[in-house]
Amino acid sequence: MEKITSPYKWGMVIDLDRCTGCGACVVACQAENNVAICAKKEINEGRNMHWLRIERFWVGEYPDVRGRFLPVLCQHCHDAPCEPVCPVYASYHNPDGLNGQVYNRCVGTRYCGNNCPYAVRVFNFYDHEHAWPKPLDNQLSPDITVRSRGVMEKCTFCIQRIRRAKEEAKGEGRLIRDGEVQPACAQTCPSEALVFGNMADPASRAARLARSPRRFRLLEHLGTHPSVYYLKGGGREHV
């Protein structure tokens, strides 16, 4: 048994004061990751497949009401409750600090989904494998599988992009440069509310932002140690 170490600890910073709730990240995620397109019925039933959702809250009393938005994706916890409960190692921790999800291994106990306090794991209740009518199937990314029914899936921080960047960097004999790799959501965000980077590198933009006094993490009291930091200014708005 040898300890595998990595120079990367991927993480993200989400500036809530910048988020406009436009939803571009949700669409980008959907397009990048072959996330199944769900009909109204599925969404009504609570079986939508979004890996990233934007929670909207109304804050304040009329007429002083303000909409606040909270993009929630897999928090890639270092002490992830979803991982040890999986009986088949479908959910595991990779050396880069990511919560891996191995679709082929998943038998669908849905235990991870229950134990995820952020409720970011989505389960294929429907058979989505053939959910892309021609010619929509041409938009499917060849880098990732289309998940079959009965399998749990979730945000991977666009691991296929990280892999590609790693390979390129390895070919050139260097580490991935800050900003070189971004998940689809961060890439798309028009207000740059989402910043992705290597938290192990204290000089990276994400790591610098994560040291902001405005930072907090979701459900911090549970001790899950998420890799996703949120930034929010003080003031009357509270989310």
Partner: protein
């Protein structure tokens, strides 16, 4: 001397009566078996429908990813508890009234744990790759994760099903010899193989009695561990309402609560069906009723403790789960409290009611309805209102889940019925032993029964 020895004729007659369940089945029995078989077939149809289409036919969603299947799992594993526990505890404490009850209780354990053990497999999203959960070397490079409570479940249930089957078989060994000596045809072959050539020599009895005692002592800690592990499935998570240290003992008590009730229900059914009124007397119901009363009090205490600590701490996320449960499921919550706690405590205090068969039937059925609800109320409200209010949801079981549940009940009844037709349903040897030890002794002006036997 002659008064406390068995008269051959009386032993023979007792065998006749106790083996009456093995008589050729009547038309009514076939009717019952067919009916149960039909319900099982419907359950299997519902399951195959779910497997061949997808899981959207269940009521499950995000966040309620576990529903009636897991309720069933906990319920059936709970039922399985008392069978063996009660039997083992009564054996060890040498309670003589236990004797006619043993077999019914032990058989119940084996079949309920068999039914319960199926549910974790039924509920899988990809049932067809269930063998990924089994630790065996394979070319896929897969190995299960023993840090997952589901693997502990798998280990515990395997141990328990093997252990309780052996316990049932061990208790039945001399009875199988009795059945063998009276059987013809295929039954003769079956009992000859299973009786292993038992003759009842003095040496065989010495070894047998020691083995029975040892087995009873071994099965109790296993039973406790099995339901503790089922409780850990919930208690080790970070789900509000589940993450509670009292869960393992509370689940064990709940399991015994429903199990004792089920043993009493089955005693009533067997008594009626096989005309065993002479062997299952009001005394047995009285004693089981007392046991049930104790367990009811324990359960009520555990429930009170669990709710009151949460109420006092008033931690908002946890309290949300409880208030959601009380608002959304008010009726079944009250039904559970009434049927599981209030009514049994009142009724079981009275000797006359404990000795009344219809009252006991009603009470024990109500307890098990209550316990099914209890499991539902543990699992579903916690998942419905987890930490993130944006993804709160609700759950209502679909026809598929209800059909499979009905199939499970019918499947248990069918297995039990088939067992009762194939194997002796009363622990005959234990009853005979008691009869052989009983003697009437002159004490003062009257003769009172006394017992001879080992200290």
């Amino acid at each position: 001397m002659s008064e406390h020895t068995i008269h051959p004729k009386s032993a023979s007659r007792m065998n006749d009566e106790m083996l009456s369940s093995l008589k050729p089945p009547t038309l009514r029995w076939y009717g019952l078996a067919f009916l149960l078989g039909a319900v099982v077939a419907w359950g299997i149809y519902a399951f195959s429908y779910m497997v061949t289409t997808d899981m959207s036919c269940t009521g499950l969603d995000r966040p309620v990813m576990w529903g009636v299947f897991i309720v069933n799992f906990v319920f059936w594993i709970g039922l399985s508890h008392s069978g063996t526990m009660v039997s083992a505890i009564l054996r060890l404490s040498q309670a003589n009234w236990r004797r006619p009850i043993l077999r019914a209780a032990e058989a119940m354990t084996v079949f309920t744990v068999a039914v319960g053990g199926l549910f974790p497999l039924i509920h899988l999203g990809r049932n067809w790759v269930f063998f990924y959960l089994i630790p065996y070397p394979n070319q896929r490079g897969l190995w299960p994760n023993f840090r997952s409570p589901l693997l502990w479940d798998a280990m515990a249930i395997t141990t328990y099903i093997i252990g309780s089957s052996l316990f049932l078989y061990l208790g039945m060994l001399p009875d199988l010899a009795v059945a063998r000596d009276r059987a013809h045809g295929w039954r003769l072959k079956l009992y000859t193989v299973l009786a292993m050539g038992w003759r009842g020599t003095a040496r065989e009895w010495v070894v047998y009695q020691q083995a029975s005692t040892l087995m009873a002592a071994l099965i109790i800690p296993v039973a406790v561990s099995v339901h503790s592990i089922v409780a850990w499935d919930f208690a080790v998570t970070v789900v509000p309402g589940w993450h509670s240290t009292i869960f393992p003992p509370y689940f064990v008590i709940g399991a015994i609560h429903s199990g004792v009730a089920a043993v009493i229900t089955l005693m009533i059914v067997i008594r009626k069906a096989f005309h065993l009124e002479e062997y299952l007397t009001p005394l047995h119901f009285d004693n089981m009723g007392k046991l049930q009363l104790v367990i009811t009090l324990l359960w009520s205490y555990a429930y009170f403790v669990e709710v009151q600590t949460t109420w006092y701490a008033h931690e908002p996320i946890e309290w949300e789960v409880y208030s959601f449960m009380a608002h959304k499921y008010t009726f079944i919550l009250l039904l559970m409290l009434f049927g599981n706690s209030i009514l049994p405590i009142i009724v079981l205090c009275f000797k006359r009611l404990r000795r009344s068969i219809p009252v006991m039937l009603a009470i024990t059925l109500l307890i098990n309805v209550g316990m099914f609800i209890e499991r539902f109320l543990i699992i579903v409200p916690s998942l419905s209102h987890k930490n993130m209010p944006f993804v709160w949801g609700t759950y209502f079981p679909s026809w598929v889940e209800l059909s499979i549940t009905a199939g499970a009940f019918a499947g248990f009844a069918l297995m039990y019925t088939l067992f009762a037709k194939t194997f002796p349903m009363v622990a005959m040897t234990d009853v005979h032993e008691y009869e052989s030890q009983k003697a009437l002794m002159l004490l003062g002006r009257t003769r009172v029964p006394s017992l001879v036997g080992k200290e």
